[in-house]
């Protein structure tokens, strides 16, 4: 799992995830998201376009990032999740908390 954080301005960042977002990397992903929030990027857009697989532990990492972002007065959004990721979001009903956006631009533009 590769994690790349690309800042967009001073308070937002696009976090690109590449690979499997599963149990084995969940902790690392969460730590990286929390670190990004602590560095000042309170709006995080997770680019899911290159995530091949998500399990519930992986989703848990995203919840961890969301909590950190909200505590800082910001938000965490998902951009371009694949079919499997969307299915997992529905299965866990997490799509009511983490609304998936069709692409990064729209995710960034939605109001805080």
């Amino acid at each position: 799992m590769e994690i790349t954080v690309n800042p967009v301005g001073e308070q937002a960042a696009v976090v690109q995830l590449r690979g499997r977002l599963d149990l084995l990397v969940a902790n690392d992903v969460k730590q990286r998201l929390v670190k990004a929030v602590n560095e000042g990027f309170r709006l995080l857009v997770i680019d899911m376009s290159e995530v091949s697989f998500v399990d519930s532990s992986g989703l848990g990492a995203l919840i961890g990032g969301l909590k950190a972002a909200r505590l800082a007065g910001g938000d965490l959004r998902l951009a371009q999740p694949g079919a499997q990721a969307l299915a997992m979001l529905e299965l866990t009903t997490l799509n009511r908390v983490l609304r998936p956006f069709p692409n990064v631009t729209e995710a960034l533009q939605a109001s805080l």
């Binding site: 149990l23 009903t93 908390v97």
Partner: protein
């Protein structure tokens, strides 16, 4: 666990093997269950219509109520065992699974836990072993290092938050490990090396989330004075539940699928957030209605439209939640609508202020108007405690999407001290399957003193009732009918305190005071009651064939004070937030220490003995002539005495010297 000698004897007579006998027994059980229910209904119908003694109506209705309770117990028990499932040999364990073994401990002796750790490390199937030390003890840490076992304690994330006892311990460990399957063991449950080989095969079915095996105690003295073994539960009852896909997790000796726990945890996290929002909307409704009632006539034209707008905002929010919008959208739109409503009030008040200021020169008024900010006006008006505006401010603040927990989501349920049963119910509600595998694969240690044994029973009872009150299986979405009734069966049994007292008091009331709860103990009464009782006992005998269940039966009845305390304390905890409390050892002399723990039972036994004496004496002296009813009630009282007598054994029991010094 079956007495093989009986089977082989029968085999020689009839020529059937074990499989045929098992099938015969299951069929016999089904017949007896239905017969029992029919006979019971026949008896109770007559009881309720023809036999109530209205001269002693309270007593009469109370006893009838107790009998109804027992009938429902019978129904639930019969339903549970109706689909008794004996699984036999497990599927073979596929190689290459990533498995963790958790040993949970808190304040057990280090040497006791060392035994468990060694046995866990020796389990055949490749796995990681972790000791989950909630007591954070350096001695335990050192022992784990010596034995070569992983060691986990609570991370700093828990500081300042509710630790949730054992549930929290497990959740904490899940954060720090990566096994797809987790075997959970209590500190005293020493596993056999083949435990994973015998259980992992069930997970080849991708819907299986849990495999539960029996808890069996090897330090139980002959006669089992504390009723520690539970051969009925880890046997026909769990097997029955298994038939309904309702076998539940018992906290130890079980393997769980991580993905199932995580997925269920997330679903209940989302459910929890939605419930908070709906609760906030209900509170908003209450606040708005109160404000509407308190409107002064002069305010009506100005404020009422704003309050109506707020009501509409709440209604719309509910509709949006129902149709599945994200929580973020729902709360944002609600806050915007609430702000609009607030602005309506400000606007109305500004007009009023303008009118008031009309006396002042128009220019000055305009200047003042320009310098007034919406927020400032609102704050000023709210500060003057005008209730409709205060209401609007309250409504504007919805609970944010943050849940006040240490962990992001909770893969183990924290709503009850019996986190195990609650977690299984949630897993079932999310469509997962459970398996009960009836093979002893670990050896545990039962409590060795009466106080600990009672405390354990109290906790199970309290936890079960907490689940009943917080996530009632009859209403939790996603469970099948069979599952709902199977969970209800376990919970229902803990409400037996009051019916038991009625059953115990009834013969006393008759023998000493002559109060009869029925019109007459006529032949009709016996013709209806006796077959019902007989079939009841026969059913029980067939179900518990080969398993020693007498102790369990005695304890269900004899622990009535514990069941009552459990219901009262659990309800106080769920409804009023009171702490659950403990069994308190009464501060009496050493010799009387254990008897203090069973004082209510002893009191009841004295009452029963006295009533037997009084009844028989009166009969012998000719002071009463109703011989048959007296004998029936004497028999009833003797039965009660025999059942309660188990507490005498328990109170007198002292553990043998060598067993208590084994871990010194």
């Amino acid at each position: 666990m079956n007495p093989s000698f009986t089977l082989t004897a029968l085999e020689r007579v009839v020529g059937w093997g074990t499989d045929e006998w098992a099938a015969f027994r299951r069929g016999l059980i089904k017949i007896l269950v239905v017969t029992n229910l029919v006979l019971g209904a026949y008896y109770l119908l007559w009881r309720g219509t023809a036999s109530l003694n209205w001269d002693a109506w309270l007593f009469s209705l109370a006893l009838f109520g107790a009998e109804l309770y027992s009938y429902i117990s019978s129904f639930l028990f019969g339903l549970t065992v109706f689909r008794l499932r004996e699984r036999g040999e497990p599927p073979p364990a596929p190689p290459g699974l990533r498995v963790d073994v958790y040993i949970t401990c808190y304040n057990e002796p280090v040497e006791l836990v060392r035994k468990t750790v060694r046995a866990a490390l020796a389990i055949h199937y490749p796995h990681q072993t972790y000791l989950l030390d909630d007591g954070n003890s350096p001695a335990m840490r050192a022992m784990a290092a010596e034995e070569g076992c992983g060691y986990i304690t609570r991370s700093a994330a828990w500081i300042g938050f509710d630790r949730h006892a054992k549930a929290g311990n497990l959740i904490n460990a899940l954060e720090h490990t990566t096994g797809d399957y987790i075997l959970i063991l209590d500190a005293d449950q020493v596993p056999l090396p083949q435990i994973l080989d015998r259980t992992l095969g069930y997970f080849s079915d991708p819907k299986v989330a849990l495999v539960q095996t029996p808890q069996y105690f090897i330090n139980v003295p002959p006669g089992d004075p504390f009723g520690s073994q539970a051969p009925l539960f880890y046997g026909p009852i769990q097997q029955g539940k298994d038939g309904w896909n309702a076998a539940f997790f018992c906290g130890s000796n079980a393997v769980l699928r991580r993905e199932a726990l995580a997925r269920t945890g997330i679903r209940f996290f989302v459910r929890d957030v939605e419930r908070r929002i709906r609760r906030a909307l209900r509170e908003a409704d209450t606040v708005i209605r109160r404000a509407e009632r308190q409107l002064a006539p002069s305010e009506r034209t100005q404020i009422a439209p704003a309050l109506q707008a707020l009501r509409r905002a709440v209604k719309l929010a509910r509709q949006e939640l129902d149709r599945g919008d994200t929580f973020q959208e729902v709360t944002e739109r609600f806050q915007r609508r609430a702000e609009d409503a607030a602005r309506m009030v400000v606007a109305a008040n500004l007009r009023q202020i303008m009118a008031d200021l009309a006396e002042i020169q128009a220019v000055e008024a305009a200047e003042i108007m320009q310098s007034l900010h919406d927020e400032a006006v609102l704050a000023e008006l709210a500060r003057r405690d005008r209730s409709p505006l205060a209401a609007i401010e309250t409504v504007r603040q919805l609970i944010p999407l943050l849940v006040n927990e240490a962990m992001d989501y909770l893969p183990i349920s924290t709503i009850s001290v019996t986190e195990d049963m609650s977690t299984s119910m949630r897993l079932h509600a999310c469509g997962w399957r459970s398996v009960y595998h009836d093979e002893i694969l670990a050896h545990g240690l039962a409590p060795e003193d009466l106080r600990s044994a009672l405390q354990q029973r109290l906790r199970w009872a309290q936890g079960t009732i907490q689940v009943f009150l917080r996530e009632n299986p009859l209403f939790l979405p996603g469970l099948s009918i069979g599952q709902r009734l199977a969970y209800l069966d376990t919970m229902w049994s803990y409400f037996s305190g009051l019916p038991t007292i009625i059953y115990l008091i009834a013969p006393v009331l008759f023998l000493i005071f002559g109060l009869l709860p029925v019109n007459a103990l006529s032949a009709e009464f016996f013709w209806r009651l006796t077959p019902y009782l007989l079939v009841n006992q026969l059913l029980f005998a067939v179900i518990s064939w080969g398993r020693p269940t007498w102790r369990g039966q005695q304890y269900s009845l004899a622990l009535f004070p514990i069941w009552i305390k459990a219901v009262v304390t659990a309800a106080a905890n769920v409804w009023f937030g009171k702490k659950l409390g403990f069994i308190v050892t009464p501060k009496t002399r050493q010799a009387g220490r254990y008897f203090g723990l069973v004082r209510w039972q002893l009191l009841m036994m004295v009452l029963l003995a006295v009533s037997i004496g009084v009844g028989l004496l009166q009969l012998a002296l000719g002071w009463r002539t109703d011989g048959m009813p007296v004998l029936v009630n004497v028999f009833w009282a003797v039965y009660d005495l025999v059942m309660l007598s188990v507490v005498i054994d328990a109170a007198l029991y002292q553990p043998a010297e060598e067993s208590s010094s084994e871990y010194a």
